[in-house]
């Protein structure tokens, strides 16, 4: 029944990998601002949206 040792090891490795990913995410500041990304993802990918009017270059 030593397969249970293998399974335990595997499951703990998987758990630790995810835990490490979580720690990395905190370290990179992903949890510092939890609001803006939720808005950002809704923006159009390509921002260019021509207005039909002729553009005046008089800024």
């Amino acid at each position: 029944m030593s397969v249970i040792y293998l399974l335990l090891t595997l499951s703990i490795i998987v758990a630790v990998v995810f835990f490490a990913a979580f720690i990395m995410a905190i370290k990179n500041g992903q949890y510092d601002d939890s609001y803006t990304p939720s808005v950002r993802m809704l923006f159009e990918d390509e921002l260019v949206k021509k207005t039909n009017e002729e553009t005046e270059k008089d800024i």
């Binding site: 249970i4 335990l8 905190i26 370290k27 510092d32 803006t36 808005v39 949206k49 553009t55």
Partner: protein, 793 residues
């Protein structure tokens, strides 16, 4: 006709909207921003959210100081190989359009590599190439599109703020360990003595031990530190029984598995720490864009314009100002130091510093104080004292500002901690003693079981969850509190002190009424047309109030500084100004500000400006008077005494002409009489009093703009609800007390098992999360009911 609102900013366009591309704009500024966006294919801005913009302000010369490399160096975060990164605070950020446009700044200026908005903090982090563009260009561009960054002395040489993420780490560690330990301890909950289990339990148990190590030695370390601190200062706080519980849990469990006495309590241990940290996490500060720590530095400019000996202008850092320097202060700029006026017409708004509502005129040779804002044309001043020695800034050398207010306050949880610790230790020793007589082998078992089960997890959770939730509810009502402790403080208040100007009066248009002879159509028209030419704030106010008239060109117009203005057409002549200026002996009219005028040398009458009190002031004061002692502390003169007496409940003490230092002293005297004082103020002149008081509340017309250091910021619109908030805080404390009783019930049940020596790990593993979760549920539901009631009021 329907009112047209501006396509860019949403303001009313008035009678003459500017049309462009079939869209209406209220002013040229808004139209320009629209054109910039349209020409750069950024008009998606308006699709995201309509009328999201703000009118760009005049900023001519304001950012010249950004040309100085030394100053730029202090502002930017990163500078290497032509790449610079700066983090700018932009108060206007308020919607998704703002995020979108600011993150597309590179479309407008190609020197910008990336820009990233942090919405909750209202900041944008811009990476740009310093060879292609400069910080000044960047700031000018942002100002031009209505997103003017706020740069103050506070930003100067700011150390890069370390974000404290340790709590998130700890929570992660505890959660990770908790989940895994739960899985590993599951088999032994149901079966004991089964063949396979017997064979593998050693591995399972030692794995659980391994998982609990980081929890005890890393995630829970705050509790040990706090308990140690408490013991050293001979103060039994709630963390002592918690730390004791964790330590005993860990030691007993380790012994259990070493000598094969049982499975240990690793599941309860990790669960306990996880729930406790969750509570801590929940009551963390939530308003990252509000600052409760501001001092004068947040208001002061970073640099001013100095006039050198050869009459050229240069930007100079405010800290470098020396006595004798000559400065140029433009319209709208703040005077950073005490100085003497040399040149120009000074009209200085000290409302921020002294609370006086009217601007004062100064003649050359007069002293002007730091903190005043020049509101007419540019002036020249000569520096008398450096920034830190100026009259206003000296207030901050008062010890009050160094003191950490939260350290000295004993929270409700801590006050129960003392009795709890003593109680638990008594029960533990007594039951151990009894078992020593009955069955000595079980003594240690019972003793540790009592300490484990009595670990006040639920008690420690009651306050964070109740108060954390209240904090959010108050936030929804635009009452922003610094931390959860403020709610507890607020519940204990018995004295409320109010500032007058800006706090119970509004900064908006004062109430104006006319006293005098009736005016003919021509006279009114002339009055309006003369006022049009003047930039005096009272003229502007009056001009806005008077009804529309045709524009009549004046034949002559004169302005007499500090006295009044004179206008004339062919037939008529009008004088507007002080009583003596228009030829009327000074009369007393309750010290209200008034503008007199005469037409053709005949005295006509005067407009009287009254301080405008917030709606419902009278009502809220009479409500508060029921169980609070009230007082008014005003920096203004006693002109409003009569009105205030009428408005406020009888016998409310009124104190006028209070200096900032005096306000602070007043609060301190009250506190020495064991009063719990709440101070409500708005300006820098209240800063000392706000810091000294138990709860300092800053009233703000716009919470994104600035308020002095305080414990809470209240949106001026919700001023009348203040008393409801106090009552709600008191109710929140009641909720906490109720949940204390609830969690004590759980403790009694747990103690029954512990004292009788029947505490199995599985009972602890059920009881602990159950009590914690039911406390969290109870407090959440109770506070939400409270919040709903608050919404109805």
């Amino acid at each position: 006709m329907d009112k047209t609102s501006c396509y860019h900013c949403g303001d009313d366009c008035g009678n003459n909207p500017i049309s462009h591309n079939e869209k209406n704009f209220c002013c040229v500024g808004c139209k320009t921003v629209y054109e910039i966006f349209a020409n750069n294919d950024l008009s998606y801005y308006y699709d995201l959210q309509s009328a999201a913009g703000s009118t760009p302000k005049e900023i001519e010369g304001k950012y010249n100081f950004l040309e100085s490399a030394d100053i730029v160096e202090k502002l930017i975060e990163f500078n290497d190989n032509g790449i610079q990164i700066i983090n700018l605070y932009i108060p206007h950020i308020h919607c998704s359009s703002c995020i979108w446009i600011l993150e597309n700044l590179n479309k407008l200026n190609h020197g910008i590599t990336t820009s990233q908005v942090d919405f909750p903090k209202k900041t944008v982090r811009i990476t740009f190439n310093s060879e292609q563009t400069s910080l000044k260009d960047l700031v000018l561009l942002m100002s031009k599109i209505g997103y003017e960054p706020y740069i103050s002395l506070d930003d100067y040489n700011k150390k890069e703020k370390k974000v404290d993420r340790s709590l998130t780490y700890k929570l992660g560690v505890a959660g990770f360990a908790f989940g895994n330990v739960m899985f590993l301890s599951f088999p032994e909950y149901f079966e004991v003595g089964e063949f396979w289990l017997e064979q593998f339990k050693g591995v399972f148990r030692w794995l659980m031990f391994a998982f609990s190590l980081p929890v005890v030695f890393y995630a829970a370390q705050d509790y040990f530190v706090s308990a140690y601190k408490g013991l050293r200062s001979k103060f039994l706080n709630i963390d002592i029984p918690i730390a004791l519980g964790i330590a005993v849990l860990f030691l007993r469990s380790t012994l259990d598995i070493t000598f094969d006495w049982g499975t240990g309590f690793f599941d309860s241990l990790t669960g306990l720490v996880f729930f406790l940290l969750l509570g801590k996490f929940f009551q963390q500060k939530t308003y990252s864009y509000l600052s409760f720590e501001r001092d004068y530095k947040s208001y002061f400019p970073i640099a001013v314009t100095r006039i050198t000996k050869d009459n050229t202008e240069e930007s100079i850092q405010v800290y470098d100002l020396k006595s004798g320097d000559r400065l140029l202060i433009r319209n709208g700029e703040l005077i950073p130091v005490d100085a003497i006026l040399i040149n120009g017409n000074a009209r200085i708004d000290y409302s921020f510093v002294t609370g006086e509502s009217e601007a004062v005129d100064k003649k050359s040779g007069d002293k002007v104080y730091a903190g005043g804002r020049q509101i007419s044309s540019a002036i020249e001043i000569e520096v008398l004292k450096s920034v830190s020695q100026s009259y206003l800034t000296q207030l901050w050398s008062n010890a009050v500002f160094q003191k950490d207010k939260s350290g000295s306050f004993q929270t409700l949880t801590d006050s129960i901690g003392k009795r709890f610790t003593i109680g638990v230790l008594t029960i533990a020793f007594v039951s151990a003693f009894i078992w020593l007589i009955i069955d000595p082998s079980k003594t240690i078992n019972v003793f540790t079981a009592v300490l484990i089960i009595a670990c006040p997890c639920a008690i420690a959770l009651a306050a964070p969850f109740t108060l954390g939730n209240m904090l959010r509810i108050f936030g929804r009502h635009k009452f922003y509190l610094r931390d959860t402790q403020t709610i507890e403080q607020l519940a204990q208040i018995d004295t409320a002190i109010f500032d007058k100007t800006g706090t119970i009066t509004t900064a908006e248009k004062g109430h104006v009424y006319y006293e005098g002879l009736k005016l003919s159509e021509e006279e009114e028209s002339l009055l309006k047309n003369t006022l049009r030419s003047s930039n005096h704030p009272l003229s502007r106010k009056l001009y806005d109030i008077l009804s529309e008239h045709n524009i009549v060109p004046l034949d002559s117009y004169e302005e007499h500084l500090g006295e009044g203005i004179m206008g004339a057409t062919k037939s008529d002549k009008i004088k507007i100004g002080s009583a003596t200026f228009v030829g009327k002996p000074q009369i007393k009219n309750g010290d209200n500000t008034s503008v007199h005028f005469s037409a053709n040398d005949q005295y006509k009458g005067c407009y009287i400006f009254q301080n405008n009190y917030r709606d419902g002031v009278s009502e809220i004061f009479s409500n508060m008077a029921q169980d609070l002692e009230l007082a008014i502390l005003s920096g203004d003169n006693a002109g409003e005494e009569k009105t205030l007496n009428k408005l406020l409940p009888k016998g409310t003490p009124l104190h006028f002409n209070q200096k900032p230092e005096g306000k602070l002293q007043f609060i301190r005297t009250l506190q020495e009489q064991n009063k719990k004082v709440m101070m409500v103020g708005d300006g820098l002149n209240d800063a000392g009093a706000l810091a000294q008081s138990n709860v300092g509340i800053a009233i703000s017309e716009n919470v994104n703009v600035f308020s002095p250091a305080c414990d809470a910021i209240l949106d001026a619109k919700n001023f009348t609800s203040l008393y409801h908030y106090i009552i709600a805080s008191r109710k929140a404390i009641k909720i906490i007390k109720l949940s204390f009783i609830l969690s004590l019930l759980y403790n009694v049940i747990g103690l029954y098992f512990a004292v009788t020596g029947q505490l199995e790990p599985v009972i602890a593993a059920i009881l602990m999360p159950l009590s914690s979760i039911s406390i969290v549920l109870f407090t959440t539901i109770a506070t939400n009911i409270l919040g709903r009631k608050l919404a109805k009021q």
